[in-house]
């Protein structure tokens, strides 16, 4: 009779200092798996280590012994006594372990519900363990199923849809205005951090031409170089606005850098081609009245945050649907496995 157990911690159970100590980098992971396999009672093992969670999955014939080994393993690798770290970990067995893994793979247990990275991380952990011959038929079956569940949730719900960060929201919006970003130009005013992040995201989505304007030209040149773009003088902004389709402004100027009259003039010069203005400045850089001009779309930080909020709400309601899918999959998985082997018992020791 084989038991599946998890010893793990995540962003809810442990602070970052502890999570850092418990995490396994890619190089450490291989030796850790090898060390786990050395315990006689552990027949199958797998380590899932991300920046928000570290979870050790094992299959062993004896629950109590298996758990002892897990504690021994983790306290050694963290180099801390078991008594000090015990409170940060959760222990899950059999049915609860499977349900937990499915939730993780479905991105329901993530800090940002619906984020897609975790699915890939679960897959990677599975392939790594398989490559190192750490899996037997129990964990193998459970992880195969978990990957299926993760896929199912992503295709059957909208849990991963909708931007939830300022910079991705900006991209999502720009894709609702422009058919394709490939032949579009972006002008960035002010070489700030958020502006840079947004441009980075945009260029990863196909934007080729990046123009940077800054009060100090050197800074503009630095940023432009990173995106193979062009640095321009601050005074020439208006000339370049005519050529740009997306303008991101993040200066700390105390007054409007771009006025509605400027934009109206620019729109005439660009034959009313749509213009997307993103105002990341505080105080605001772009006169809010510009939004009233036809074919101009102005979003400031608050507007983008509002979009993110709406998306988060949407995700929450999708998460309920996802949970139902997970629940039904857990039941099916349990039925499929030998019901005697997977004993239904709860043992959450804290």
């Amino acid at each position: 009779m084989m038991n599946i157990q998890i010893l793990g911690l995540n962003h809810k159970s442990a602070p970052i200092e502890i999570r850092e100590k418990a995490s396994f980098s890619e190089t450490k992971l291989e030796t850790a798996l090898a060390r786990l396999k050395e315990y006689k009672v552990i027949e199958e093992c797998l380590i899932l280590s991300t920046c928000n969670r570290t979870e050790i999955y094992v299959a062993s014939p004896d629950c109590v012994e298996g758990l002892d080994c897990l504690w021994d393993f983790i306290s050694r690798s963290m180099d801390m006594p078991e008594s000090q770290i015990k409170k940060y970990f959760y222990i899950l067995e059999n049915k609860f372990a499977i349900a937990h893994l499915f939730r993780v793979a479905a991105s329901l247990d993530s800090m940002i519900v619906g984020e897609t990275q975790i699915f890939g991380q679960v897959k990677d952990a599975y392939f790594k363990a398989r490559e190192k011959n750490c899996l037997g038929r129990n964990l193998d079956a459970v992880f195969e199923e978990a990957i299926r569940v993760g896929k199912k949730v992503r295709t059957q719900t909208q849990i991963g849809k909708g931007a939830i960060s300022t910079s991705t929201a900006a991209i999502e919006l720009s894709r609702k205005i422009f058919e394709s970003l490939e032949n579009k130009k972006v002008l960035i005013i002010g070489a700030g951090k958020i502006g840079e992040l947004t441009v980075k995201n945009l260029s990863s989505r196909g934007i080729k031409t990046v123009i940077v304007a800054n009060r100090t030209l050197i800074k503009a040149q630095e940023l432009a170089e990173r995106f193979c773009g062009e640095a321009i003088k601050f005074e020439n902004i208006l000339d370049y606005m005519r050529l740009s389709d997306i303008i991101i402004s993040s200066t700390s100027a105390p007054h409007f850098v771009i006025t509605a009259a400027d934009v109206a003039k620019v729109m005439r010069a660009r034959n009313n081609a749509p213009l997307f203005l993103i105002d990341l400045g505080l105080p605001r850089n772009i006169d809010p009245a510009t939004n009233a001009i036809e074919n101009v779309y102005l979003y400031n930080i608050d507007d983008l945050a509002q979009v993110c909020d709406a998306n988060l709400n949407q995700r929450r309601s999708e998460a309920q649907k996802a949970q139902q899918i997970v629940d039904s999959c857990v039941e099916l998985a349990l039925k499929r496995m030998n019901p005697e082997r997977v004993r239904e018992e709860e043992s959450i020791i804290k």
Partner: protein, 276 residues
């Protein structure tokens, strides 16, 4: 024989309704398979519809689009044809959500009115009939498509301007796309309408001895033609795009519907479908 024709026509309405439901499900769930289902159903419906149109023509022994019944059915047939071509080209299911219900209402309207076969007046038994009517309905179908893109444009634009995203935001395509396709549909529609008017006046010259008789339908067709001329002019010379263009496309559509149906019922003339 006529009974079985009716049964098949009702089946056709049912297929179009199913296709519209498929597109609606695609719209709400965003699952590609429903969109493809809608497309396949619309296509099968269209094939069936083609059979029915041909059958009526054989019964009439001539191109048979004269009465209201025939014209509604033919209009639905052309709309679905133009829509299928458009969807096949741009590979998005989204406009089916709007176009198919329109085709359904035309076909359903046709299915409840009298479809008795009346002898065709001699003046309508002319090859010009087929050319003139087909061109006009092709232009109507293109304007209908442009109308659907315009509605989607205005909707999406409103959401983007108000900065409040809701369920429709994710479902509608990019503004640029809607604007471009709406424009393209109107270019085609305008060409067809121009040819339709020209072919009509040549035919009128042959049949009635005059190119233009200021019949209500002719007058409204001219108004329609001028509206879309303004649209194209604004587009090319003054760079109207987006909302302005979309609004004009919607106004054009309203006048088109009036030209098509309103004129027959309210301003009877040479082109009326209900001439007793």
């Amino acid at each position: 024989m006529n009974f079985s024709y009716h049964t098949i026509f009702n089946l056709l309405v049912f297929v179009y309704v199913s296709s519209a439901i498929g597109y609606f499900l695609f719209f709400t769930t965003q699952k590609k398979k429903f969109g493809s289902l809608g497309f396949v159903l619309a296509f099968s419906g269209w094939i069936l519809h083609t059979g029915l149109v041909v059958y009526r023509c054989l019964v009439f022994k001539s191109f048979a689009v004269s009465g209201l019944y025939e014209s509604l059915s033919f209009f639905a047939w052309v709309i679905v044809l133009v829509y299928l071509i458009s969807e096949f080209r741009h590979k998005q299911h989204i406009d089916g959500v709007f176009v198919l219900p329109l085709a359904v209402s035309l076909a359903a309207y046709a299915s409840v009115i009298n479809s008795d076969i009346k002898p065709l007046p001699a003046v309508l038994r002319s090859p010009w009939m087929a050319v003139h009517v087909t061109l006009c309905f092709l232009s109507y179908a293109c304007f209908t498509l442009a109308f659907c893109f315009a509605v989607m444009y205005i909707w999406q634009e409103k959401e983007l301007k108000s900065r409040k995203v809701d369920v429709f935001f994710f479902r509608l395509p990019a503004l640029e796309f809607l604007d471009r396709l709406g424009y393209r549909a109107i270019v085609f529609g305008f060409v067809f309408l121009s040819l339709g008017i020209v072919s009509g006046s040549i035919w009128a010259q042959k049949a009635w001895g005059t190119f233009w008789s200021w019949d209500p339908k002719e007058t409204f067709s001219l108004i329609l033609w001028l509206i879309y001329l303004v649209y194209l002019h604004g587009r090319l010379m003054a760079f109207w795009r987006g909302k302005k263009s979309a609004r004009l496309a919607i106004i054009g559509f309203a006048i088109m519907i009036f030209t098509y149906l309103g004129v027959s019922f309210l301003l009877p003339g040479l082109h009326s479908y209900i001439s007793k």
